[in-house]
Every structure is written in structure tokens, then in C-alpha cells.
């Protein structure tokens, strides 16, 4: 059994909120460079250059890559041999988000009630996902998720007969209809299976993978490639102004599901694919 003070979690979450918002991960920067080399449209190339320049300025000045510093999605893998001392995990994480956002000059974008819409002024509450895993460590990932990309996401319950062709068409339809507003070039997270409540989370988990990394199940690598090619053939391009770079990656996560169901979710992400991970 290892004891970890809740204050340690608060400190780590605050640091990760800032790092995620100031610095674009290496894998995303490499994917942008690769896309620039393949892109033929001058306007698209200009936008890809702006995106790379922006990442440089944000990191140099320690300022946010995007003014929408997102809803703070926090993923915690908690070792089952960890004993937490002090506040609850949820409270420690929320305090970390509040500290990270208010001290880091990050925009607070959360309203307390979806209809009254009064800003909480510290970007809490966080969206916390916890997995209990073997060991005595805590792995924490912060993914600041922008509102534009959330609004461009979608979930549909298919009958099993729809199969892969139905999924493919749904992803393309979602990108075609909503992709522009999610700031392409996109990272498209696709969740397949699970249940109505878990498939959205699966799609989000797909966004946590490094851009260009292979899926755990080999059979899905070819499906991701097929989807990426089909999405890029749409010609939407960076910011919807045309080009071959509509998405940098399509990632799929899948899970067992009911014999009657084929849940599918599309979690859209913008080119500012911000995430930061730390370990306690």
C-alpha cells in the first residue's frame, strides 16, 4: 500500500492543465509537418504553416494555443495499492483544474447550469474518468476539449446489420456535416461497441492515443486507414477551405456489446490535439 496526498494530485493536475494548453504534443506536430509535405493546396499549406507558427508562439510565451482552453477532461489510472490521503479524488482533481486554469491565464469556459448559464469562473467541474489498475502509481492525463469539437461530435445506435459499411458512412456523414466547425485538420476518434453510455467514452479514449500509433487490435489498423483515406478524399481541407488534409488521423477503440446493438460514436477533435500526461 502506498499513500499519496491529495494535494499531490491537485498540484499535478494544475501543471498538466497548463502544459496541455501551452504545448502541442510532438506526435501532433510531426503529423502536421507530414501533412504539409503532402498538401497541394496553397491556402491549405498557408493554414498549416499558421498552425505550426502558433504552436511555437504559444510554447515560447507560455500562453494558450487556443482561446478555447476547453472543458478539462481528466483521465486517472489509479493503482489499486494506492491509498489517497486528504480530499476525495474528485475534489483533488477539481482543485487542480481551478488552480491550473486561474493561475495559468486559461479561459474558464464552464457554466454551472446548462440553462441558467452562469460561468463557474474556475473551469470546474472537471470531467473525471477513473480506471483502477494494478500497481501503486497514479497516471493522470488531461485533455482540454474545446466546445466547437464537442458540438461536432455524434452518437448513433445502429442495428448489427449496419456493420462496417454503416459505420463508415456515419463517420463520413459526421465529418461532412460538422467537420468544418471542429477546426480541421481533425483527429477523429471513433468508438464502436459497448453501450449507449460507454461508447462516447470509447471514442474519447481513441483521442488519447498518439497520432499515427497503431490500434491494440490489428484488424482495426486497416479500418482506420480506410476511414482516414475516405475522410481526406472529402476535400474539406484545413478550416474547410479545401485541400487533402481534412484529418491527420482516425483512431478507433472498440468494446464488446449486446447482440442487438452496434453503438457508434464519433468524437471529433481539432488540429490543436492537446493532452498532457503525468505520473505520481
Amino acid at each position: 500500500m502506498r499513500t499519496i496526498a491529495a494535494a499531490e494530485i491537485t498540484k499535478t493536475v494544475a501543471r498538466l492543465c497548463q502544459r496541455a494548453n501551452y504545448a502541442l504534443p510532438c506526435d501532433v506536430r510531426e503529423a502536421l509537418t507530414g501533412a504539409f509535405q503532402k498538401e497541394g493546396s496553397p491556402r491549405a499549406r498557408e493554414i498549416l504553416t499558421q498552425i505550426s507558427d502558433n504552436a511555437r508562439v504559444a510554447q515560447e510565451k507560455s500562453i494558450a494555443l487556443c482561446q478555447d482552453t476547453g472543458i478539462a477532461e481528466v483521465y486517472v489510472n489509479m493503482g489499486q495499492d494506492v491509498h489517497l490521503q486528504g480530499e476525495t479524488l474528485q475534489d483533488a482533481v477539481n482543485q487542480g483544474v481551478a488552480l491550473g486554469y486561474t493561475e495559468g491565464y486559461l479561459r474558464t469556459s464552464i457554466v454551472a447550469d446548462p440553462l441558467d448559464r452562469v460561468n463557474t469562473n474556475d473551469n470546474t467541474p472537471a470531467q473525471l474518468t477513473v480506471a483502477i489498475v494494478p500497481g501503486d502509481r497514479l497516471d493522470i492525463t488531461v485533455l482540454p476539449k474545446g466546445g466547437g469539437t464537442e458540438n461536432a461530435s455524434a452518437l448513433r445506435m445502429f442495428p448489427p446489420s449496419a456493420g462496417w459499411p454503416g459505420i463508415l458512412e456515419f463517420v463520413l456523414e459526421t465529418v461532412r456535416e460538422k467537420g468544418i466547425n471542429a477546426c480541421p485538420p481533425l483527429i477523429v476518434g471513433v468508438g464502436i461497441g459497448g453501450s449507449f453510455s460507454s461508447v462516447g467514452k470509447l471514442a474519447k479514449m481513441a483521442l488519447l492515443r498518439e497520432v499515427g500509433s497503431a490500434p491494440a487490435a490489428g484488424a482495426y489498423a486497416a479500418r482506420e486507414k480506410e476511414l482516414l483515406e475516405a475522410v481526406n478524399a472529402l476535400g474539406i481541407g484545413p478550416m474547410g477551405l479545401g485541400g487533402s488534409t481534412t484529418a491527420l488521423a482516425v483512431h478507433i477503440e472498440h468494446a464488446p456489446c449486446h447482440i442487438a446493438c452496434l453503438p457508434v460514436a464519433v468524437a471529433m477533435h481539432c488540429h490543436s490535439m492537446r493532452r498532457a500526461t503525468g505520473t505520481i
Binding site: A58, I63, D68, Y105, R107, T108
Partner: protein
């Protein structure tokens, strides 16, 4: 090659601007996003005085992040314009001449741009740090209680935009419809 224009010249040249033109704007922009639009519409409906002069105004759909001490403004990229579509024809009818944001607009907005000789421009989403370098001065003008959704005045220099919807109904996102 992008053309540099002061806001005054930009407004004067609106009838001649065409979708697809790249411009670098210098002058004053007013920010407004969802909550500020809702308040403006309510004030208009209640026949109350407005906190900004709408005649010849250029509205930038943006809710900036806080500025670090010493910086003129915080990161300040565009937000999705379509969410403001329900309010835009009203504001254009009251003299707003241009809006700046990202993404497509609705048919009523296209029609209102034609009817009121207005344009809609886009700027790149997600490059807020870069765009903040184009703002020389910023201050909150109204609705400070809305936090990031307050109305700000931005004094910009060479702020990059592309005309997306011109006053003739040409739309960069629907190149086949007119042009």
C-alpha cells in the same frame, strides 16, 4: 497576396470585396459571442440603449483567454460563427457591416449580407496565440459579468482574414452556388 486595409477603407470597399480575397485589417473590432449576442438582442427588443455603436461596426466572434501581465490581449482566435446565425440578420439590419469568425453561415445570413451590403470573413481557428500578436490594445466595453463572453474592443494591426461571404451572395464554402 493579402491586401492591407484600414477598417474604414474595408467598410467603404465592401460592395467590391469578393469571397476568397485575403485581407489584413487594421483598426477596431468588437468581440461578441453567444451570451453577448443574446443580451444585445434582448436590449434591442426592449428598445434599451446599446453598449456599442452598431453602425459600421465589425464584430469578431471571439471569447479571449485572459492576458498575461504586460500582454495587450490573451489568446484570441475565432469561435464557430454558425451559433450566432440567429442574431446576425438583426445586427446587420442595424448597421453592423462585417462579422469575423470561422465556418459556414446560414442562408438567412447570406441573404442579410446581400440586403444590407455586409460581408462575413473567416480567420484561422485554433491559432489564438498567433492572432493575439495582431492585437495592440484591448479593453472590456460591456457585459463584464459574462467573463470570457464580455464585449471587448480590440485595436488590431494586420489582422488576417479571408472574405467568406460577400455582399453579392458568393460563398467560399459553396463555390458552386454562385461566383
Amino acid at each position: 497576396m493579402a491586401r492591407s486595409l484600414t477598417i474604414a477603407d474595408f467598410i467603404e470597399q465592401i460592395p467590391a470585396l469578393r469571397a476568397g480575397e485575403d485581407l489584413l485589417l487594421s483598426g477596431t473590432l468588437f468581440t461578441a459571442r453567444d451570451a453577448a449576442h443574446k443580451r444585445l438582442a434582448q436590449l434591442i427588443s426592449d428598445k434599451q440603449p446599446l453598449p456599442i455603436e452598431l453602425a459600421n461596426a465589425v464584430i469578431y466572434y471571439c471569447g479571449p483567454a485572459p492576458a498575461r501581465p504586460g500582454d495587450a490581449v490573451g489568446p484570441c482566435g475565432p469561435t464557430t460563427s454558425a451559433r450566432m446565425d440567429p442574431y446576425t440578420p438583426l445586427l446587420l439590419s442595424l448597421g453592423v457591416r462585417a462579422t469575423i469568425g470561422k465556418g459556414k453561415r446560414s442562408t438567412p445570413v447570406t441573404d442579410a449580407c446581400r440586403a444590407h451590403q455586409a460581408v462575413y470573413c473567416v480567420t484561422t481557428g485554433g491559432v489564438a496565440a498567433l492572432l493575439s500578436q495582431k492585437v495592440r490594445r484591448s479593453e472590456i466595453i460591456a457585459f463584464a459579468d459574462l467573463g470570457p463572453e464580455a464585449i471587448w474592443r480590440f485595436d488590431v494591426v494586420d489582422f488576417p482574414v479571408t472574405v467568406a461571404l460577400d455582399s453579392n451572395g458568393n460563398d467560399i464554402f459553396r463555390p458552386s452556388t454562385k461566383r
